[in-house]
């Protein structure tokens, strides 16, 4: 197993994520030149969903488990930011047992908290869910997502189904990051860190075991490695990443609502990951970009745009087994790609 690794990253797999981040980093100056600041907003959305899709891909692409829980974890992250900011804004301390917390709108505190809480939820649900596999896993994660969703709806104090507006100014370590450009670079930095750290993870022995277990569980088990522990770790890590992404979405749009947690949103995240390509770390970045841009462009053409969107999904699944990442590979490798 150590001798031969079919997933050894090729040159393109090393270059593509750096290129993707570089292209994204160039958006604010380009938007400034074009006089179209809205581009930065779009790019922020791409970055946020890319982080979530990359996190999800650890479970879907590498561990081979399709989860519909991740919108829920995404929403947990969002609610951490929203609730902390609500308490800060309303000057009402949040009682946590014996401790009272004044709340904060500082992402340097709420981001790690969002990741932590999403990770804990992922751990608790993962322990149960990972006893199942295949379609059963899909459905049990759906069940947990529904529970989180209805849980958020039941938060009457924080707006229930209407959602929660974030009225405080969002800061990071005391610095105002509510303006679009600093916020974009904050999100991009987190994306870059995610790509780098997860790149180390999937390239390590851990990643190899994870993928091997997805391809042939029995072969891994006989070598004395318990796939369950590996999968649980992957599940928790991906939960943390999704929680961070959710926290960023909530901060960026100053709003969080249960709609962010619906299973349909989980489906959107899966579509982004698959659209981009599951076999690479950077595929989901392409997928998130394609998803966000398609949604924006198609829906401005016709109100029946989901007809075209559905058709595009069908065609991509039918023809591109490796998602849009395949297209990028074909385009860059030219004749060498068989």
């Amino acid at each position: 197993m150590a001798e031969f690794d079919p997933h050894r990253p090729s040159t393109i797999d090393r270059v593509a994520p750096i290129a993707a981040i570089a292209i994204l980093a160039a958006v604010p100056p380009v938007a400034g030149l074009l006089g179209d600041p809205f581009l930065i907003k779009v790019a922020t959305r791409v970055v946020v969903f890319a982080i979530a899709a990359i996190g999800l891909n650890l479970v879907v692409g590498y561990a081979g488990l399709v989860s519909l829980l991740h919108a829920g974890l995404f929403g947990v992250g969002g609610y951490v930011v929203g609730v902390a900011a609500w308490h800060e804004f309303n000057g009402e301390a949040l009682g946590l047992g014996p401790v009272a917390w004044a709340g904060t709108a500082d992402l340097a505190i709420t981001l790690p908290l969002a990741g932590l809480l999403a990770g804990i939820v992922a751990l608790v649900t993962g322990v149960v869910s990972l006893r199942t596999s295949g379609p059963y896993f899909l459905m049990i994660t759906l069940a947990f997502d529904q529970m989180l969703y209805y849980g958020a709806v039941a938060l009457q104090k924080y707006g229930g189904e209407d959602g929660l507006q974030i009225l405080s100014t969002i800061t990071f370590a005391g610095r105002d990051v509510s303006a679009r450009t600093p916020f974009f670079y904050l999100a991009l930095t987190i994306l870059a860190a995610t790509v780098f750290l997860l790149g180390r993870v999937v390239g390590s022995r851990f990643g190899v075991v994870l993928r091997a277990a997805a391809e042939n569980e029995r072969r891994v088990t006989v070598t004395g490695i318990p796939p369950y522990a590996y999968r649980l770790t992957a599940f928790v890590v991906s939960g943390v990443v999704c929680g961070l992404a959710g926290a960023l979405l909530a901060s960026g749009q100053q709003f969080v609502s249960p709609a962010d947690m619906s299973w349909v949103r989980s489906g959107d995240l899966v579509v982004m990951a698959v659209l981009g390509g599951l076999s690479t770390l950077w595929g989901p970045i392409v997928g998130a970009a394609a998803f966000v841009v398609l949604e924006l462009v198609l829906s401005s053409w016709t109100q029946y745009w989901q007809l075209a969107f559905g058709a595009i999904i069908v065609v991509v699944v039918l023809t591109l087994r490796g998602g849009l990442a395949d297209l990028v590979k074909l385009a860059t490798q030219g004749r060498d790609a068989r």
Binding site: F38, G160, D162, S178, Q253, S257, A259, S299, Q303, W305
Partner: protein
């Protein structure tokens, strides 16, 4: 972005205006962003509002206050974050001056603040959340529709007047559902013998209807918008309860977006409404005839609100020579606007929410046998919402 950019925009806009001169400015079309739900199961509502809005624009010759109008449509998919993204696009790229169209409160709450911060006017054709009627009221925010609680308050008055002693309340378990039942309880003086909240989007109500029957109330007040309402009313009728325990609701549970599908099952139910299909004033008759001719169906009060919104904007802009760029003047013009409203008496309150009449309507068949909201009697004249006291509008 929230603090600095709008100033930059405003400065650029002012500079541009100075350079171009007012003549060229008047030739520029007024840009309106119509953000609503057009795809998926909620898509019907957005279409209904847009149809009313476009019919209004057709009636004004495609102009507002004498200036051409460009309507930019956007689909929020009933998701607040998607709505926010499209609203950002409308405000920043399309430079819309008015954002309108939103049908769901949660979407409106997600998009209103950033749009207002960026200097646009938000004029709601439908959603009327209490936040913007009370503490969060804003000089550039107007709801030309209603405040969520008001039609329920009207129905509470009517039920009290009718001497209904025991009322059973039902609504979906989400904020608007709670608002509607709270509005009813605010004005109803009889006894509430049951208050049931069901899951949002619930399909089958047989279990709840069985519990209700066992309680034997004198009437049922319900708020179920869209498909939930169709399910509930059909199942209520099939359970044979319609004749013994009458149904009462706000018009949103019993309008033309759902009545064709309910059919006979809805006939005999009562609704409190600010507009009805058989309203016999001249503007309403024309609106109804034009709507039916253009779209081949009857309009709902929602379409009437959207149409009215156009009339209000047109009248306000006419009074200031179409100069929407003068925000203070436009705000003042809207606050004091006078127009031939389909709803008869209509004016904006201090919090920019309507003061309007509410009528009792009974669901009855029209000349062609189609169920409609049929006007019966006036419940409350010049009804204002309950949140206006919390609003500290400058």
């Amino acid at each position: 972005m929230r603090n600095r950019r709008p100033i930059v925009f405003a400065a650029a806009l002012t500079a541009g205006a100075l350079l171009a001169g007012s003549a060229a400015l008047a030739a520029d079309p007024i840009r309106i962003g119509f953000l609503s739900t057009f795809s998926g199961p909620g898509g019907q509502l957005g279409q209904e509002l847009l149809d009313g809005f476009e019919l209004g624009l057709a009636a004004t010759g495609g102009t507002l206050g004498g200036r051409a109008v460009e309507v930019i449509k956007g689909d929020d998919q009933a998701k607040p974050d998607v709505g926010r993204q499209v609203a950002d696009k409308m405000v920043e790229r399309d430079k819309v001056q008015i954002l309108t169209g939103v049908n769901f409160s949660n979407v409106l709450l997600a998009v209103a603040k950033p749009a207002l911060d960026a200097g646009a006017f938000v004029v709601s054709v439908n959603a009327g959340p209490s936040q913007y009627a009370g503490a969060q009221c804003n000089p550039h925010f107007f709801a030309a529709s209603f405040q969520n609680d008001t039609s329920s308050e009207a129905m509470g008055l009517e039920a009290t007047k009718r001497g209904i002693k025991k009322m059973y309340l039902m609504a979906p378990n989400y904020p608007a559902g709670k608002d509607f039942l709270a509005g009813f309880k605010r004005t109803y003086k009889g006894a509430v013998v049951g208050e049931v909240y069901t899951a949002f989007g619930q399909l089958d109500y047989a279990a709840e209807i069985a519990q209700l029957r066992a309680t034997a109330p004198d009437g049922v007040f319900f708020f179920y918008p869209g498909g939930m309402g169709i399910n509930f009313v059909k199942q209520y009728d099939q359970a044979g309860l319609k004749k013994t325990i009458p149904l009462f609701g706000p018009s949103f549970s019993l309008d033309q977006t759902v009545l064709p599908a309910m059919g006979e099952a809805a006939v005999g139910a009562f609704a409190a409404t600010h507009w009805a299909e058989d309203a016999d004033d001249a503007p309403s008759k024309k609106f109804r005839a034009d709507f039916e001719a253009k779209y081949g169906r009857l309009p709902s009060p929602n379409a009437a609100q959207a149409y009215d919104t156009v009339m209000a904007l047109d009248a306000a802009l006419k009074s200031i020579g179409g100069k929407i760029e003068d925000a203070a003047a436009f705000q003042k013009a809207l606050e004091t606007v006078k127009f031939d409203s389909l709803r008869g008496h209509f004016r904006f309150n201090r919090n920019h929410y309507p003061i309007q009449d509410f009528w009792l309507a009974e669901i009855a068949a029209d000349a062609k046998g189609r169920p409609i909201l049929s006007k019966r009697s006036l419940i409350a004249a010049d009804h204002a919402d309950a949140y206006v006291d919390k609003c500290a509008m400058k």
